[in-house]
Assembly symmetry: C2
Homo-oligomer: 263 residues x 2
């Protein structure tokens, strides 16, 4: 018992918030469902995040039905986790609800523009990170799906999103079936600037990526991809110019068509 309390003491007082320090993206899930009360506490945690003028310009669409997740799966390139994880949450920038309230009160909202796409996205993303951490505090795992901006039109159709509601992030959530190691990060100095931004010299760039480039993981990737360096894996395999521009155009068109581009 005393040893147990000692461990508790250390966890609580000395280091980083446990969930922040131990976050990893989970890609394998058990099919155990998430109890309703746990899910509600997690969603409630989302609402405690800061929000622009306390307007809460976001909605969280929580999808658990197998049929809907099967329809969402191709939008996320059939990543197995979308069907494995029992909970799928799409975080949307949402001015629809606020606009409806304003109009119902005889107030004329002018939030259908790019600045409010940004404000509403900030709200949605701060909420999403609270949700992610709170889920982890309950023993759950999550993974962000960057693909949410690739196929937004289709996702919006499946989730029946009205105008003024645009997905900006999505996560899958469930009980982890495998715990991968922590992912490496660039050295802190590589992403922090003191006082003002100090632009990177070629030597800085070499130093920042040195450890990752020298890693065993990288050398395996180079072999598998038959490419001479990690940067080219990003530009020629993972995120190619052609794909990037196609996604960029379709996502921008989507927000233009859905009520965020009155300039």
């Amino acid at each position: 018992m005393p040893i147990f309390f000692l461990i508790l003491w250390f966890n609580t007082f000395t280091a980083m918030i446990n969930e922040i320090a131990n976050h990893r993206s989970i890609r394998k899930y058990k099919d155990t469902p998430v109890p309703e009360d746990v899910l509600n506490e997690i969603l409630e945690a989302g609402t405690r995040a800061s929000t622009t003028g306390n307007m809460q310009l976001y909605s969280m669409v929580v999808t658990t039905s197998r049929e809907l997740r099967e329809r969402l799966s191709p939008c996320h390139f059939n990543q197995p986790s979308v069907l494995q994880a029992p909970v799928h949450i799409t975080f949307c920038a949402d001015i629809n609800r606020f606009n409806k309230w304003c109009r119902q009160r005889g107030a004329e909202p002018v939030y259908d523009n790019f600045a409010w796409f940004v404000n509403a996205s900030v709200d949605a993303l701060l909420a999403s990170q609270n949700v992610a951490l709170e889920a982890e505090a309950h023993g759950l795992g999550i993974c962000y799906l960057g693909t949410v901006i690739y196929t937004t039109e289709k996702i919006a159709e499946i989730l029946e999103l009205p105008d003024g509601v645009v997905p900006v992030a999505a996560i899958v959530m469930g009980y982890p079936d495998a715990l991968p190691p922590l992912t490496d990060r660039l050295p802190l100095k590589g992403v922090v600037h003191r006082e003002t931004y100090k632009d990177y010299t070629p030597e800085d760039i070499d130093r920042i990526w040195a450890e990752r480039e020298a890693s065993e993981e990288t050398s395996q990737l180079l072999k598998a991809n038959e490419l001479p360096n990690l940067a080219r894996i990003f530009t020629e395999r993972r995120y190619t110019g052609k794909d990037n521009l196609a996604i960029s155009r379709s996502y921008l068109e989507f927000i233009k068509r859905h009520g965020f581009f009155n300039q």
Copy 2:
């Protein structure tokens, strides 16, 4: 001693992550500086957040110099907290560092478009929320400054941001001098949709805002603003159409001029 452990037990196991549950925006600060080791642990927490393809497409510009904070202050409409709080962090979507690395390795990045403004903003915002929570775990307080998108050109000049680096969030951070009450939020059902988005009926809208509209705080605001309802305070006082459109245009122009709009 046993009672102490009992309290600890409750905090750790039963409820929401303490920092999430107790977050409030702090607007009055002591001038006590934040120790370097604490600041570094907080920034490190930022880097543990999920990031697009582990690219860390963000930079955190940490400004503590009084002179620079004096120059930033008007960009944030001279909110007193900007000068009171010893630390000011500007979270930027950053493709500059990644582009430089790619080019130095003979890889050709095509990340200068809107989709990557979104990806990089997601990275910056998830990091910012980790930073906010970790700061609170160290007894610090924070406040997000929504004004960061109002005067971006000037902020970028002060912080010497190069092309490919766009501020998307800013926080002030320091030891709280006053702890305001928790801010109310809309009922959870007002922001959560199960399975798909269920658009709001007029009755839903009334129900969602009922408690806030009936509050003492609202009735004081209505009196002070000489307006008949809270929605009109938002549209006619806090966020007017004229301001919104001006901010929208200038921020969009900024991201277009700074390397995020090759479509």
